[in-house]
Amino acid sequence: MGLGWYITRRVGWSFIVTFIIVSITWALLAAAPNPEIAQAATQVALQGGDPAAAQEAAERARQLRGLDAPLYQRYIDYVTSVYTLDWGWSETRSQPVIQAILGALYYTAQYSIPWTLLVIVIGPIVGLYSSANQYSWKDHLATGFAFFGYAIPNFFFGIILLLIFGVELGWIPVIYNTGVPVFSLENARQLAIPVFVLVTGSIGGIMRISRNESAAFMNADFVKTANAKGVSKLRIYARHVLRPTMVPLSTTMVSQLLALFTGSSLLVEIVFGIPGIGRLSYRALIAQDTSVVLGFVLFFTFVATIANLVQDLTYTVLDPRIDFDDR
């Protein structure tokens, strides 16, 4: 029973988890009254139709949406459509939900990928650097930078930078242009500030954790041994300190990855006008666009399950002390 079998079982379990969540969602939806049908009836009533006509309109609306089919049939249709990515129609955008989500993801990914990579790369390195130079001015500078980024609200920092670099200096466009190619100088220019704001906002957590974690290993026996063997400083930090530091850190990183699709990106998207996931989900909630909200429930279910899986696998790969045989 090796790693392969463990991964297979975990993936299978993830599938079951999503299936359970999807089923519960369906049950809740099936139990709730459908506003569109009430609306169809109201519409007829408003036009002076009699109650019987309103009833008829509601029936017609029900048939159109396939709500007159037996429950098991509706359940099978629903589950099939979920797993074939047919997630319904967004009323507030007049397009299929999956198209809306993928479209928004396309723009979110353009800033979230560089953001995540930068945080993952720079965070631990700066943390490690801080702990190697504990209580020096360099450590204080790095800590000060981390706390500043963490403390200043992203949207406010974004507006200020936009005013300075966009309006006053004219170096970056004020309005985000979706028409430019992904890998182009224009796109890099318009994304530089949002990515900078997000990185400064989220690097603090990773940096502080890696500083404190690595400080614990700085004086560990195996580091002393490596030092005694004459291993280079760089190798000690990279191989002996960073690796155990990364185990608890990976938890933070995965949650960071998830956060990037949700709250923190919303305000930045609004300020910089990026049509991403944050704005789409927020607007769908405010406007009660049920199918899009449901789409996000499914989307986040899948993302969270996969993230959980990745987290566990990362553990096992990073830390040989974790045993997966008897799980």
Binding site: L46, G48, G49, V174, I270, G273, P275, A287
Partner: protein, 652 residues
């Protein structure tokens, strides 16, 4: 929406209650291309008032009324050219016009759109049949409308109209089919359904001519915007009509992408990113170029190669884009007007618009939560409240002078506003303002109750000071200032405490403004949908006292359309108002009048009665204040700005 009561500040409109306003834009153009560019109404995030002000020609510091002479056209006080060029020739074609709006349209399907912002976007690619020029002059686009006695109207189409794709030429049959098979059907639930009740008889009388027979004569029928129809090919609608499939019609790609518009729009929709932008390209075959009876400046219209609409939710970003020259137009809030006027690259236009700012009193059973009874239902009490707010100061302080004071349901620049204002009670001004005027009326109103004054404050029967809630839209600084001002005035002059609360427009609409539809509507005298689900005992989910969240349309081109706001059993009475005057009778007279001369005295009486009855606190008419790049030639400072948008161009 029956008769289409229009609200400003809606972000969610499950029902079709802004259609007439939407048409007003297409027709009058007031905000069509101007006031809405980045104004804060619409769906999604933004809501509430177009923060704007009104009324004066070129210097925004004096209190308004300067629009009164020119709001409906006539002279251009600030010297802005309209249409053509300064030099009088036909402009050069080229370049890009870009504008920013605050929210993305829900749909561009002309049959189902109920948003004003989306109406503008559709208007770039598809003309309405007619519009109004400055001076309220009928401007024929797709068809001309004539009548003998006001009850049969004949619509005559131009003969050079072509649909896109394989749909061929536009004929009367396309319009008649749309009315009879969609708007008058029970299944389609189109946005225009309420404009075409079954008593209206529509039939084709030739290839390019159809007639509309009304149950009652209506001299101002075109001004109601009811006869406006988008041209939609019959073949496109037919399959859905046969299946009675409204859902399919709503999702039809051809309608959503405006691909059928052919030569009937100045621009064609080229690409759309739902959350960020729309791009339109110049329509090489625009029909108005060769049309008869249109001004010369249409001869090569439109004058931009590309038209870009960016969706930018954040007001600061929109203003920054205007300042940085990245966009050619954006709405400017009143407190920023002077800044943008002083910039070299921008002009600010003050464009009158028909929405008012009203403080609505909830007269339903869940209103007046300060004690027993509901004092809002007493006319004398409402008059007292009318005396509590200094309207001149509100206009000057909150709207920076970019607004007109409101005394009755009509802006003073409207041609229907009575010449003789002696019968209009001007509450909130002069003798009708101040603590004495307010409290004497309130005391009279509460004489038969256990309420009373003590220490200058109004006390309920338990001896507690009366405390009322007042809601305003979240994220609307101008509206917030107005609410705070009202609270301050009520305390000072009426001795009433007011708690001001912010709320999202969509939430207010759903949980406070609209009533819950009763399970058995038949048990009530009337039940007319969510905006008037029944008499006063039918209420919304949550109690509320007063609101400034929504402004309402006063329909300056045809005030009869506003009758829906003043009938106790109309489709739009969220506030539970029962008129103490013969409202339905007077509006009935107005809508069946056969000439404008006959109408004026009826309107005079209606406006006098409204000012006296104070159905709500009528406060101000803010104008749209829109910033344009200096080189843009076209916008005008009147209600019709944008009627000739296809002739707008860039100078220099």
């Amino acid at each position: 929406m029956s008769q289409g009561p229009a609200r400003r500040g809606d972000e969610k409109h499950k029902r079709i209650d802004r259609r007439s306003w939407l048409k007003a834009i297409g027709v009058a153009g007031a905000a069509g291309l101007a006031g809405c560019s980045g104004g804060s109404n619409g769906s999604g995030g933004g809501n509430g008032t177009d923060q704007s002000g009104g009324g004066n020609g070129s210097n925004g510091s004096q209190p308004s009324n300067a629009t009164n002479g020119s709001a409906l056209g006539g002279g251009n006080e600030s010297g802005n050219q309209s249409g053509g060029t300064s030099s009088g020739g036909v402009p050069e074609v080229g370049g890009t016009y870009s504008t920013v709006v605050s929210s993305s349209p829900e749909t561009l399907n002309p049959l189902y759109n109920t948003e004003d912002g989306a109406g503008d976007l559709i208007g770039y690619a598809l003309d309405y049949p007619y519009g109004f020029k400055p001076g309220t002059e009928y401007f024929q686009q797709l068809y001309d409308m004539t009548t003998d006695k006001g009850n049969v109207w004949v619509a005559k189409l131009r003969e050079n109209l072509e649909f896109g794709g394989d749909y061929g030429e536009v004929t009367a049959e396309d319009f008649v089919y749309q009315v009879t098979q969609l708007h008058q059907s029970e299944w389609a639930a189109t946005a225009d359904a309420s404009s075409w009740p079954s008593e209206v008889n529509v039939e084709a009388t030739g290839d390019y001519e159809f007639q509309i027979e009304l149950p009652n004569p209506n001299a101002l029928y075109p001004e109601t915007y009811d006869p406006l129809l988008y041209p939609i090919p019959k073949e496109l609608m037919q399959p859905y009509v046969e299946e009675q499939n409204a859902d399919g019609l709503r999702k039809e790609q051809e309608l959503l992408g405006l691909g059928f518009a052919g030569n009937m729009g100045a621009y064609t929709l080229d690409s759309r990113n739902r959350s960020s932008s729309l791009t339109f390209k110049r329509n090489e075959n625009y029909y108005l170029r060769d049309a008869e009876g249109v001004p010369e400046q249409f001869s090569k219209a439109p004058y931009f190669d590309t038209l870009e609409v960016q969706i930018v939710q954040e007001e600061q970003s929109r203003l920054a884009a205007l300042e940085a020259g990245e966009t050619d137009s954006a709405a400017v809030p009143p407190n920023r007007v002077s800044k943008f006027r002083n910039l070299e690259r921008t002009d600010v236009y003050v464009i009158p618009q028909p929405y008012n700012e009203v403080c609505v009193y909830n007269m339903r059973d869940n209103g007046w939560n300060a004690g027993p009874g509901n004092l809002f239902r007493k006319k004398k009490f409402r008059q007292g409240l009318g005396c509590a707010v200094n309207k001149q100061r509100l206009v000057k302080g909150v709207f920076r002078g970019f607004a007109d004071v409101e005394y009755t349901w009509q802006p003073q620049w409207s041609k229907w506003y009575p010449d003789d204002t002696s019968n209009i009670m001007e509450f909130g001004t002069g003798d009708l303002y101040g603590p004495e005027a307010t409290q004497s009326r309130i005391k009279e109103a509460i004489s038969d109750t256990d309420y009373g004054y003590s220490g200058g404050m109004l006390k309920n029967p338990s001896g507690e000071t009366v405390n009322l809630t007042l809601y305003h839209s979240a994220g609307q600084p101008t509206e917030r200032s107005m609410a705070d001002f009202i609270a301050q005035e009520f305390k000072q002059n009426a001795g009433i405490n007011v708690s001001v609360s912010a709320i999202q427009g969509a939430q207010f609409s759903r949980e406070y403004w609209q009533q819950q539809i009763p399970d058995n509507p038949d048990q009530y005298e009337w039940s007319a949908g969510a905006n008037n689900a029944g008499p006063r005992e039918v209420t919304s989910a949550n109690p509320w006292d007063m609101s400034v969240v929504f402004g309402l349309n006063t329909y300056p081109l045809n005030p009869t359309t506003a009758n829906v706001f003043f009938q106790k059993d109309s489709a739009y009475n969220p506030y539970g108002y029962y008129p103490s005057w013969n409202a339905s009778e007077l509006f009935e007279q107005a809508s069946s009048a056969t000439s404008e001369e006959e109408l004026q005295p009826i309107f005079n009486e209606i406006f006098a009665k409204i000012s006296e009855d104070q159905p709500m606190g009528m406060l101000a008419f803010p104008a749209a204040t829109t910033g344009y790049a200096t080189g843009i030639d076209g916008p005008q400072e009147n209600f019709f700005s944008g009627w000739d948008f296809s002739t707008w161009h860039r100078n220099g």
